[in-house]
Symmetry: C3
Subunit: 260 residues, 3 copies
C-alpha cells in the first residue's frame, strides 16, 4: 500500500486512536492526529484503559512522563490491545536517562509492540549499545542506528522506525528510508511523540510496515512544506498543522521513499 492509498484510507475511516502519551505531548499529539484525519483519545486511568484499547483502531504508548499508576495503565492497555488484535506503537522516550525509565521501556518492549519508534540514541540504547543521547534529544546519527533497528525488529517481530534528518524504517526483512522534513522540527517540542500518535492512526488502516512509511512520508511532506514560509518554531508549528490537514491523497511524493 503506497503512502497515498494509506492516507486515503485514513481520511475515509477516521480511526479512533487510543493514546497514552506524556503531558508535554498531549495537546500537540492530539492536534497532529486530528489534523491528519483521525480521532485521538487520550485515556490513562487504570480503571478504563483495558476497556478502551479494544474499541480503538490502534493504541500508542509513549513513556515521556511516568508514574507508577500510568505504567500499570500502559501495561494493561498493551495486553488488552494484543488480546483484541489492535496494533500498538511504543515510543521509549529517553529510556536510557534513568534506571526506572529503562526498566519501563524494557517491560513494555517485552509485551511485543507492533511498531517501535524512537530517535537514533533511543534505538541504539534499546539494542544494548552505548548511545550519546541527552534527555529527549538524540546525540547519534540515524545511520549509526540502522543495525540496532534491524536487530530489534528481528528479535521482537515488530517494525522499528528511527526518526532523524533521513528516517529509517525496517521490519527486519525490508527497509526504507524517508527524506524530507525540516531542521525546525526538533525545535518544536513533542513532534516525535506526535508522530508516534500518527503512526497509530495509520496502523489502524494499513499493514504495519506500510503504515509506518506512510506516516513518516505524511510528516516529512508536511514538515518540508511548512518550513517554506516559517520564520521560527512558532510559525512552523502552525503551518505544520495546517499542512497535515490540507495534504490530500496524491500529495505524498513517492520519491521520498527509498526501499531496499
Amino acid at each position: 500500500m503506497i503512502p497515498n492509498a494509506a492516507l486515503e484510507a485514513l481520511r475515509a475511516q477516521a480511526p479512533l486512536v487510543h493514546c497514552i502519551t506524556n503531558y508535554v505531548a498531549m495537546n500537540i499529539a492530539a492536534n497532529v492526529t486530528l489534523a491528519a484525519g483521525a480521532s485521538p483519545a487520550m485515556i490513562h486511568a487504570p480503571e478504563e484503559v483495558a476497556d478502551f484499547a479494544p474499541i480503538a483502531g490502534a493504541l500508542t504508548i509513549n513513556i515521556g512522563t511516568l508514574s507508577t499508576q500510568w505504567v500499570d495503565s500502559m501495561k494493561a492497555a498493551a495486553v488488552a490491545a494484543n488480546s483484541a488484535n489492535v496494533p500498538w506503537v511504543l515510543d521509549p522516550v529517553a529510556h536510557f536517562a534513568t534506571p526506572y525509565r529503562a526498566k519501563v521501556a524494557k517491560d513494555l518492549l517485552a509485551l511485543q509492540p507492533t511498531i517501535l519508534r524512537g530517535n537514533a540514541s533511543e534505538i541504539i540504547a534499546l539494542a544494548g549499545g552505548a548511545g550519546s543521547g541527552k534527555g529527549a534529544d538524540s546525540g547519534d546519527s540515524v545511520n549509526d542506528a540502522q543495525s540496532a533497528a534491524e536487530g530489534l525488529a528481528e528479535r521482537h517481530g515488530c517494525v522499528v522506525a528511527v526518526s532523524g534528518p533521513v528516517d529509517f524504517i525496517t521490519d527486519g526483512a525490508r527497509s526504507a528510508s524517508v527524506t524530507g522534513g525540516s531542521d525546525l522540527m526538533p525545535k518544536v517540542t513533542a513532534l516525535g511523540c506526535s508522530l508516534t500518535a500518527l503512526l497509530g492512526a495509520y496502523a489502524a488502516v494499513a499493514p504495519s510496515l506500510e503504515a509506518t512509511v506512510a506516516a513518516f512520508v505524511h510528516f516529512a511532506e508536511a514538515g518540508e512544506r511548512a518550513a517554506t514560509d516559517a520564520t521560527g518554531p512558532g510559525s512552523f508549528s502552525v503551518a505544520f498543522l495546517d499542512t497535515l490537514h490540507t495534504l490530500k491523497p496524491g500529495d505524498l511524493a513517492d520519491t521520498r521513499v527509498s526501499w531496499r
Copy 2:
C-alpha cells in the same frame, strides 16, 4: 441579559475561574479563558480544591482524563462550590466510552451542576439513549439531542447545552439556538473543553441561561471570524485566540440567537 452585556460584565470583573480539566485541554482552555477576559486557575489536588472553589467566581469540571485521585477532587470541589453558592459546569467527555467514565459522569451529575455541556452523543447517552459517538467526537446531530437535553434540564434543574454546527441551549422552560462557528473547530483538539471553561467565566458574571448563551455566541462569533483567513486548524487556532480577545461588547451579533 444579552450577550454583549454579559461580555461587558466579564471584561469588567475578570472573574477567577477554577478549572478541573483534562491534560489535553489544560493549556488551550486557560488561553481561551484568558483571551476572553477572565482569570483561569487549574487546581486539582484533593488537599486544596475545597479551599479554592469557594473563592472562585465559578468552577468547571471536565472528565476528559481521569484518575481515582482526580475524581475525588472533582466531587470535593463540586460539593464546596454548592455550599458556597458558586456556579459550576460539568463536561462529561466521552462518558459512554467506558463503564468507569459513565459512573463518574453519573456521580457528578447527581451533585447538581449549574450548567451541563456536551456534544450531541454525550447528551443523548447521558439521558439514557443510544448515541453513536466515537471517543470525544459526536456521531449524532444536535437536533437529535434536543429532547434529551430538555429532559436532563428538567430532571436535574440545570441548564443543558449541546455543542454542534448549530448549538442548542435549554433550561427546560426556555430554549435557544446559536449559529456561527466554523467546521475547523472540531479539527482543533479540546475546543469544546475550552468552551466549558469559558462557560464558567460567564456563569460568574451572569444568570446561568444567559451566561451559557453569551459564551456560545462569543465562541461562535470568534470562530466564524477566525475562519475567514485560516488555511487549516493551526492558523485557525491562532486567529481564534486573537479574536476572542479583540471582540468587544457590541460585537456579539444578536442575530446568532433564536429563542423559543
Copy 3:
C-alpha cells in the same frame, strides 16, 4: 557576564534543563526553552527525579499544579540538585491561594533554591506581607514588592526575581531592573512559568544573578519584538517563540537593564 555573552554560552552548550512544572505550562515551557536554545526534560516520577536532576545543567520547580506524589518528587529533586551542585529555580505559583499550596512553597523555599521567581503578589506574600493576588495573576505592583524581594534574597541566600511590566531582580546586595516585553504577555497562559524554565537554562551556563538578568532580557526583547505585528494573544505567542529562536548574541540590548 552581560546578557549577550550568556546567550552565546546558552547556544554553545544547549544545556539539559530538568523541569518539574505544571500541566498548563508543560508544552509552552518546553517550547520556550527549546526555542531559546536549551534542551528541556519534563520528568516527575518519584522513582527517577533524584537520578535525573544531577545529570541536568539545572533544575526548575513550579508548583502550579500539585499532588502528594509530585510534592515528594519536587523535594527529592531539589535535594539531589543541591547535593550535585546543580542550580535550581523555584516558582511558587499562587502559593497564597490555599493552605496546602502555602505549605508546599514554604517547604521548598527552606531547601534553598538558587533563584526564586514570582509575580509581585507571590513575592510579597512569601515575605509575609498581605498581597492582593487572584489565582495566578498579580494584584500588586513590582515596586511594592522590592523590599520583600530584597528581604527574601538576604534571608535565603538566593536571587529573587519579580516579574511585571518592569522586572526587578536582586541577590540582596546588587539589584537590577529590566524593561521591555508587552502587555499581551499576561494574556498568554504560563509565560511566567516558561520564564522559570528559561531561568534554569541560563543558570546552567552563567552565575545566578547574571543568568537571571539575561533570561529576563531575552524574554523582554522577544516579547517587545513579537508584539509589533501581533493582533492578539494567539499571534503574539507564535511570534514570541519565533523571536526567542531568531534572537542572536548581540541582539539583547544592554539598555534594558538598570543596575543599582
